[in-house]
């Protein structure tokens, strides 16, 4: 056992360690440790403890703290030990304080002085120990106290000290860049240190500096390249070899730095090609460290300006990694593939089987890495398979952190590449069902909006079908136990809005289900509130349709329960429900028009409908309203009475200064009136105009309304439409958008038939048993069989995209960004101005193509015609045609604002985040153009067609 010089341990310590090791339970261990703490507390404060004994006590304290117990009573003794002259004791003291204390601890002030002294010590080990403490214990305020000494040490004769001094300086830079910014040049100087170890250590801070600011270090490219060259040529002493590799750790650091410096810089990159190529050739791929260097080479190659030869070598290494039996190498291979795929996407195809093996590997880490790779290579042709896989995996894991991440990725991919809305809704349902509480609430609102707005076209039939299928699926899903709250909210909303719309289900079916939901999730007020509002909608639609409404007994009891609810919101909803049921058909139809969630709301800002009421009041002797601007000295008082109502009433004098008056709009009477209408139950904030009619007589005096309004505002934000379309707040109608008012061009039939293609496809693709199939659907396939039908289908798909795209301009902004597949390919949008391209595409009936009736080449040419046309867009047409302009997202606001007032409203508050979201993958027209070309090349080109995907799609 450890009896080497200097590390003495007493029997007591051995006994402690042993008894802890033998402890059979955590409780027993805790008891032993608490005993030990008592002993140490007593012993450590005894006078005149021999140093060696003291040192042992401190080590025991460190040990105790490592086991998770509080040893703070001994910190001061550790600090005292750092003052000691004996090296052994001093080092132990420093070790203990670096483990015990943090840089903001109170005791640090007692150590700084010792550190200062020790940094000047003759004994280099003392200096090293002090430097060690400097790294951990010096904070921004104390840096100046030790900085001069540390700077001196940069020129210390011992290389170990120089190395540590550089690291300490690096640490200072990390903690407070400004305090050492004038000393950064020292790192450059140390790069030329005689000792390769010091040079290697200098690479750490330089890497960080370069990562923060590449441009100021471009001049070092040549130096780094020559260092790397010398290292690779074994110019360093044998001492730096590791497993027959010359200084591999230095090589790795250098390659990392070169990757940063060469990124997007052709000239700098050209200097690196030779040396990186040499390393590729020389590197020993049998050892772990050799592969580490090779992997770093790939990272470097994929980061610098691409060089075909190097890319080829990189691809070779990747295939070696992926074919290896070692999971570590497979992992690195997948990671490297993900990097390289950005530059040369075709490389993935060669490794498709290996990637699928990794996807099915029992190793979780490898699986996750593979999903990351798939995420990177998702496109509209393989999104279904990939997202399907991701969801399956998501269901299988318990790690909430990763579940959240993968769920949000699924949502992102689905929003971006969804081939059909049907598929999108199904996918979202699965995500919500299994990870509903982990996804962002916005996703739920997007889904609701998608269902409400449908395809954004005037194809009502398809929209109805979509909604019916959503309703149907939700009724089925409701049978499952324990659904996430967010998902239930979506379900309740959709059932309320569309549950009875198609006549498939009766009102009593739906209301029964809704009551079940409210009962089963009685702890969740949000869900209950959604369910209540949904009930109200269903009954309102029934009443409006002149059908006899008989409330289910469970609904009746639910309402009664909620009428006495502690939650004012639920109570209000229950009262609203009660009120609506008591109204006649005409009134209800006004309050709750069927399927009007996307309708415009016009707000009468002058409140002209109140004129009669005001007239009446004035006749009864009320004061007429004087606009604020016409009021004189009285103004301030009335202003403040509104703001500090309760305060003013409690004491007559105010001693502190009044704050500046709020902007005048706040206290205008119309505003107050709007507010006061809100204190009576408004069925839905969406329909304020109607609600005014019902509530007019009950308008109270405006004195207390401001406070009441406050409370309601909070509720309103939380509930109702405003949650996903904030623009619908009662006082603001300008940001409403017209959805149904948009026109619809030709080609509707093609779209609907294309939809049927998707409908007839099985929702879940079961291909796991056939890797080949999966590979084909993921990578676009490389097998050459079944060429013709596949081509036909591919073309059908591509052409249907064209068609779809050509319609997108007419849909609303939001829908466009949800159907990101079309939206991220702006060039096609320009097809609008090219009637020929659109019409050719229209002629291609997908079904005909499936039957192989259409010649493959014709299809290809027809489709290729589109990009050809779009490559030469008329710039002026862009400005003239607002519809097209909208899709040039960056210009959307500008353009629409310039020319078309009806579209001006479209980029509402909710639209904006989505725009940014979807633009992350296709941010500018150039990128998307390239991507589009790529997709075409991959998908339409007869050499890379995909027979199996085709099969999957059709079921």
């Amino acid at each position: 056992m450890g009896s080497q010089g200097g590390f003495y341990q007493s029997k007591e310590f051995l006994d402690l360690v042993k008894s802890i090791g033998e402890a059979r339970s955590k409780a027993e261990e805790d008891r032993i440790v608490l005993n030990e703490i008592e002993t140490l507390k007593r012993r450590i404060s005894e006078p005149d403890i021999p140093k060696r004994k003291m040192k042992e006590y401190i080590i025991r304290l460190v040990y105790i703290e490592m086991l998770g117990h509080d040893a703070s009573f001994g910190y001061i003794h550790a600090v005292k030990m750092t003052h000691d002259d004996s090296l052994l004791v001093k080092r132990t003291g420093y070790l203990a304080v670096t483990l015990f204390l943090n840089e903001d601890h109170d005791l640090i002030i007692l150590i700084v002085n010792t550190i200062q002294k020790d940094l000047k010590s003759d004994n280099y080990l003392v200096v090293c120990a002090a430097l060690n403490a400097v790294c951990k214990l010096i904070n921004e305020e104390t840096i100046p106290a030790v900085l001069p000494q540390v700077m001196e040490l940069l020129a210390h004769p011992k290389e170990a000290v120089r190395k540590k001094a550089i690291m300490a300086l690096h640490r200072f830079y990390q903690k407070s860049p400004s305090s050492v910014s004038h000393l950064v040049s020292n790192f450059r100087k140390r790069l030329c240190d005689n000792d390769p170890g010091v040079m290697g250590a200098t690479l750490c801070p330089l890497f960080e500096l370069i990562a923060r600011d590449v441009n100021s270090y471009k001049d070092l490219v040549i130096s780094f390249v020559s260092i790397l060259k010398q290292v690779a040529e074994r110019r360093l002493s044998k001492a730096y070899d590791y497993h027959q590799m010359p200084a591999p750790f230095i090589q790795i650091k250098l390659l990392k730095i070169l990757a940063l410096l060469g990124s997007g810089d052709k000239q700098a990159s050209e200097n690196m090609y030779t040396v990186v190529g040499d390393i590729f050739r020389k590197c020993d791929s049998s050892s772990n460290i050799g592969n580490a260097v090779l992997y770093e080479c790939i990272c470097c190659v994929s980061s610098i300006y691409p060089n075909p030869k190097l890319l080829e070598s990189a691809a070779d290494v990747i295939s070696r990694f992926l074919k290896s039996d070692s999971h570590n190498l497979k992992y690195m291979g997948i990671d490297a593939l993900g990097r390289l795929i950005k530059i040369s996407p075709e490389i993935a195809e060669q490794h498709q089987l290996a990637v699928i093996d990794c996807l099915e590997d029992p190793d979780d880490t490898l699986k996750r890495k593979t999903f990351e790779l798939l995420y990177k290579m998702t496109k509209s042709t393989n999104v279904e398979v990939i997202v399907d896989r991701m969801i399956d995996y998501m269901i299988s894991i318990n790690d909430n952190h990763y579940k959240t991440e993968i769920a949000s990725r699924c949502v992102e991919l689905a929003e971006q590449f969804a081939p059909s809305n049907q598929w999108f809704i199904q996918t979202m349902n699965r995500v919500f069902e299994h990870a509903g509480d982990l996804v962002n609430i916005k996703v739920a609102h997007n889904l609701m909006r998608l269902i409400a707005e449908g395809f954004g076209e005037d194809d009502d039939n398809a929209d109805t079908k979509l909604r019916s299928s959503a309703v149907e699926s939700y009724l089925r899903i409701l049978g499952e136990p324990k659904l996430p709250s967010v998902f239930l909210q979506v379900i309740c909303w959709v059932l309320g809005e569309y549950g009875t719309a198609d006549g498939m289900f009766s009102a009593s079916d739906i209301t029964g289900k809704l009551c079940d939901v409210a009962e089963a999730y009685s702890n969740d007020e949000t869900v209950k509130a959604y369910a209540t509002t949904a009930l109200m909608k269903i009954y309102a639609f029934e009443i409006a349709a002149w059908r006899k409404v008989d409330m289910l007994p469970e609904c009746q009891s639910l309402m009664e329960e909620l009428l006495a609810s502690h939650s004012t919101d639920l109570q209000q909803r229950a009262y609203e429900l009660q009120a609506v049921i008591g109204l006649d058909a005409h009134a209800v139809a006004c309050i709750m028009p069927s399927d009007a969630s996307c309708e415009d709301i016009e707000v009468d800002r002058d409140l002209s409908f109140l004129n009669d009421y005001i007239q009446e009041a004035i006749e009864k002797g009320a004061q007429p309203y004087i606009p604020e601007s016409e009021r004189s000295g009285m103004l301030n008082i009335s202003n403040f009475r509104n703001q500090d109502h309760h305060e003013a009433s409690s004491h007559g004098l105010r001693f502190e200064a009044y704050e500046l008056p709020k902007p005048a709009v706040q206290s205008r009477i119309p505003q107050t009136l709007i507010a006061s209408t809100e204190i009576v139950p408004v069925p839905e904030p969406m329909y304020p105009r109607e609600s005014y009619q019902t509530t007019m007589p009950s308008i109270p005096s405006d004195a207390g309304s401001a406070e009441l309004k406050l409370r309601l505002e909070g509720v309103q934000k939380k509930w109702g439409r405003s949650t996903y379309t904030p623009a619908t707040s009662t006082s603001n109608s300008t940001s409403q958008k017209t959805v149904n008012g948009t026109s619809q061009g030709d080609g509707a039939s093609t779209v609907s038939s294309m939809r049927e293609t998707y409908d007839s496809r099985k929702p879940q693709v079961e291909v796991s048993h056939e890797k080949q199939k999966l590979a084909a659907s993921l990578f676009g396939g490389s097998s050459k069989t079944e060429k013709r039908p596949a081509t036909g289908h591919k073309a059908a798909k591509a052409s249907s995209h064209v068609v779809e795209k050509s319609h997108v301009p007419k849909s609303s902004m939001e829908v466009a960004s949800e159907k990101a597949a079309p939206a991220q390919q702006p060039p096609d949008l320009l097809d609008l101005g090219e009637p020929t391209a659109t019409s050719t595409a229209l002629q291609l009936d997908p079904f005909k193509q499936l039957e192989g009736l259409l010649d493959a080449t014709e299809v290809a040419s027809a489709v290729n015609g589109a990009p050809a046309a779009s490559r030469s867009p008329d710039i002026m047409a862009l400005y003239a045609d607002t519809a097209a302009g909208i899709h040039n997202k960056n210009d959307a606001d500008l353009l629409s604002g310039l020319s078309n007032p009806s579209v001006t409203n479209m980029p509402g508050t909710t639209a904006m985040p989505q725009v940014t979201q979807s633009s992350s993958k296709g941010p500018n027209p150039k990128d998307s153009l390239e991507k589009d070309a790529l997709v075409r090349q991959m998908g339409v080109n007869p050499s890379s067609q995909n027979p199996n995907l085709f099969k999957d799609l059709l079921g």
């Binding site: 051995l14 703290e65 998770g68 052994l88 080092r91 772990n288 580490a292 190793d363």
Partner: protein
Amino acid sequence: MIKAVMVMNTQGKSRLAKFYEYLSVEKQQELIRGVFSVLCSRAENVSNFIDAESIFGQDSRLVYKHFATLYFVFVFDSSENELAVLDLIQVFVETLDKCFQNVCELDIVFNYSKIHTILDEMVFGGQVVETSSSEIMKAVEEISKLEAASNAISLIPKSASGWRSR
């Protein structure tokens, strides 16, 4: 940058824990438990890498190596290379092996401060400073020698002064 180095045995008992950013004792224990629960659920013959973002937050990876009854764990960020860190663990263990001749768990338990000395020679303030095990050995031996010497020297005056004061 390296965020943490941990050594724990297969029962989850911590044998060495060094965090290069300050963390409270409770947080340290929580992380150690978190790491152990992941480690013990890993099968044999899988990769040595774990995505540690759920335990250590954004941009953190974990590499571990299993030797007999011990797990050696390094946690680091994207500025390091996973395979290289795996070799760093190798260097660490090789050095321990040289130091103790066939290192075993008990050596690590009983020579707690020496293990820290070795680690400090390798990783300094979160950065790898030395990767050659012979260099590390040299430094550690020198420290031991000087410590022993200073100890011997300091013992004499101490006993002398103790004698004088008596």
